[in-house]
Amino acid sequence: LTLQAWNVYGVLNFLQALVEKSTINQILEREKEGLEQFTATDGYDYNGGSNVLKVLGYFSMVGLLRVHCLLGDYHTGLKCLLPIDISQQGVYTSVIGSHISTIYHYGFANLMLRRYVYPCRCFAFSASIL
């Protein structure tokens, strides 16, 4: 791994692996059905478990969006963010840096794809929270 210091594939690998190994997609999916709590506890685990992998996986989705924005692959980037519902508050709004970065890159990617309505809506929503 050292041989590939800061290689783009290595970076994507880690972020993707964190997303997948944490099964964050399933957790968010199960949460919608009321089978699991994640957003309500801000990602913390009050039953003695660890929040590290889950929350890292969650934030890695934003990280992936950001890397894909750097690479100019906006479509894939937005796809990575799909599990997070940015039309309402969630764990991503619990940290101010994460909130801003998520909204910024979401908006940026959408603007680059010439979709102007979604980002407007989401910027307005974020401005109302911030």
């Binding site: 590939q4 594939y9 290595g10 880690f14 972020l15 993707q16 997948e20 997609n25 692959d73 994460s98």
Partner: protein
């Protein structure tokens, strides 16, 4: 954002590259000297992490770390991890976390050398591997976890900018970059990626059929064309792999077919390059 106009000063301070972190440099910075306040910071942080006291960890991380950085380490790095390790029972994970903060502070306040950038990458590799293997049982504040991901991407971006700037680089540095920069080492990347993906494919296959049947009906040829297009275009093959895997999550055989196709394309890519 760190400025990248100070590359030359950074290089000078790294003149003896192997020991740039050991031994005293021109600024009178001794990486092995641990002030009492740092000792108590490390000991307390370690204790709070062990006791899973998220509130206290957050306080120390947000407030004490910044205060100490401001007061004692304005333009020098924090003490090296080796110097503080014995205060925390040489705890492997804690040392990785400490080094992560150490590098973050370095990136924010000073100009990291090439060696330090590579060391930071190695540190992230070790840290994420520990997390991925699920042996971490601590609770950390969301702020800290976000900062980790944020910094990881930022350092990647910073490395790309650094690498692109060839002016001011010595022969030695360029040689080192060449040695570390095996961008076309396809099969190593691919092996890791396939390994990681395969875990999740199996998990997904058994537990959760995430995508409906309509995606299955998307014909193979469309996917392959998409993949070829991506491959020929920007050499972003890894992106396409993850895209494809998303399409193929619930079709195991299809997934296996696609691997062999991918290999063919990747070989072609490599031949071209």
């Amino acid at each position: 954002m760190a400025s990248f106009d100070h590359d030359d000063t950074a290089l000078n301070s790294a003149a003896p590259p192997p020991s740039s972190q050991q031994g005293q440099d021109a600024l009178g910075y001794d990486p092995n000297f641990v002030p009492d306040s740092v000792k108590s910071f490390v000991v307390h942080l370690y204790r709070h992490i062990r006791e899973k006291n998220v509130y206290e960890i957050h306080q120390m991380y947000e407030t004490s770390f910044q205060t100490l950085s401001e007061r004692l380490f304005k333009d020098t790095p924090w003490p090296s991890v080796d110097a503080v390790a014995h205060y925390v029972d040489n705890d492997h994970v804690f040392c990785l976390l400490y080094r992560e903060m150490w590098f973050r502070h370095l990136y924010a306040r000073l100009s990291p050398t090439l060696k330090q950038r590579i060391d930071s990458w190695d540190n992230y590799c070790s840290l994420f591997q520990v997390v991925l293997h699920g042996v971490v049982n601590m609770q950390l504040p969301n702020q800290w976890l976000w900062d980790m991901v944020d910094e990881f991407v930022y350092q990647f971006q910073s490395f790309c900018q650094y690498r692109a700037k060839m002016k001011n680089k010595t022969e030695q540095e360029i040689a080192l970059l060449k040695q570390f920069d095996q961008v076309h080492n396809l099969f190593r990347c691919l092996a890791l990626e396939l390994y990681l993906v395969s875990i999740s494919v199996i998990l997904n296959y058994f537990s959760f059929r995430c995508l409906g049947l309509e995606l299955y009906l998307v014909s193979i040829s469309v996917m392959l064309n998409y993949f070829r297009f991506r491959c020929l275009g920007l050499d972003l093959y890894l992106v396409s792999i993850s895209v494809m895997c998303n399409y193929l999550f619930d079709q195991f055989e299809l997934y296996l077919v696609s691997i062999s196709v991918m290999f063919n394309y990747l070989e072609q890519c490599e031949l071209k390059n």
